[in-house]
Symmetry: C2
Subunit: 199 residues, 2 copies
């Protein structure tokens, strides 16, 4: 019943997480009836981000420059590295405050069942960065899930072999949850209470 | 903490109804991490729809052609006109089935407090269409809200002056609700139980 351009818009909106047929219809009609400027701005932003955003050379997080702001910041301690699964985890730590080291973003976690091995989450690059920056402590802040724990342990073993200290954030992070939904205070506490993973 | 292109994408996503800062971040990262093809398809669909979708010459619904499929369909009875507030209401009636007449889409309702008068919702065009197509019955299917009722009554008075029968959908539509969320059976029932508004 809707015309082809409207139908295509409704179907395309389904690529957004949490958007089903009902809300894609509501979104499409809202934009066309009331906010075409917003639709055009979003179209431009989507195109530019999808084509322009790459990975930071050092930490692998999403960004359009060669290196992200944090890696490019001379004031951040490069001998301390916090390993997280997602770019939003970096944001969560930065918002919690109190951490002055750098990050490494795996963009996922080990998942043998899905065929995701060390190479797919940048472990080689991580170990190279550790050597290059003479990192003295790697804080493993993967999610407190089965896969996150397994990933942390895998990295800890690799670091132990290279005589680099690996710690795991500990207190306060609820088990089975996603790191990015944890409040800042809890995260700061977990960071302060970190312990060596392989002793 | 996010780079400019990612920030702009997150902000642009806020034009979508029901999308706050939390979900816009989740959506932006999801697209960039896992579905750039979907992002580019959506960018294209948004641009094309925002620039290409206009209004049907007859019923005023959203469509990119001169006339929408229903108005262009020779088999639809043009002497029966169902007046609705939104394009999604047309969809609701079509999905309910059983109606073979045409529609007129106000794209809103009268709202003096917001400065929305008869001209803003196409009443002149509606009355012209009624004359042009020799419409014998206008079914007023505006939403069962205060504004929807007032709009229906305003149109009914105008039609009465022109000796055109105006009916209002009646039974089964819950008061205070939005028409587009009513199930097909209820809508079909309400349509069948319509009555003259100004007697
Ligand atoms: Zn970086
Ligand atoms: Zn039409």
């Amino acid at each position: 019943m809707f015309s082809p351009l409207i139908k295509e818009l409704m179907e395309s909106l389904r690529c957004l997480p949490g958007v089903g047929p009902r809300s894609s219809q509501r979104m499409a009609l809202h934009l066309l009836e009331r906010d075409r400027e917003g639709a055009l701005r979003l179209a431009k932003a989507l195109g530019e981000a999808a084509e322009g955003v790459g990975r930071c050379r050092d930490c692998r997080t999403l960004c359009e420059d060669d290196r992200c702001d944090i890696c490019a910041h001379a004031g951040r301690d490069q001998t301390m590295l916090c390993v997280v699964e997602n770019p939003s985890d970096v944001m969560a730590f930065e918002q919690a405050g109190g951490y002055r080291g750098r990050y490494f973003v795996l963009m996922g976690h080990l998942s043998p069942i899905d065929g995701i091995g060390p190479d797919d989450i940048g472990i080689t690059e991580l170990l190279q960065l550790v050597t290059k920056n003479q990192v003295s402590e790697v804080i493993l802040a993967t999610n407190p899930t089965v896969e996150g724990e397994a990933t942390a342990h895998y990295i800890a073993e690799e670091l132990k072999r290279r005589d680099v200290e690996a710690t795991r954030i500990a207190h306060g992070v609820p088990l089975g949850g996603e790191l990015e939904y944890v409040d800042g205070g809890t995260l700061a506490h977990a960071l302060a209470g970190r312990r060596k993973l392989v002793t």
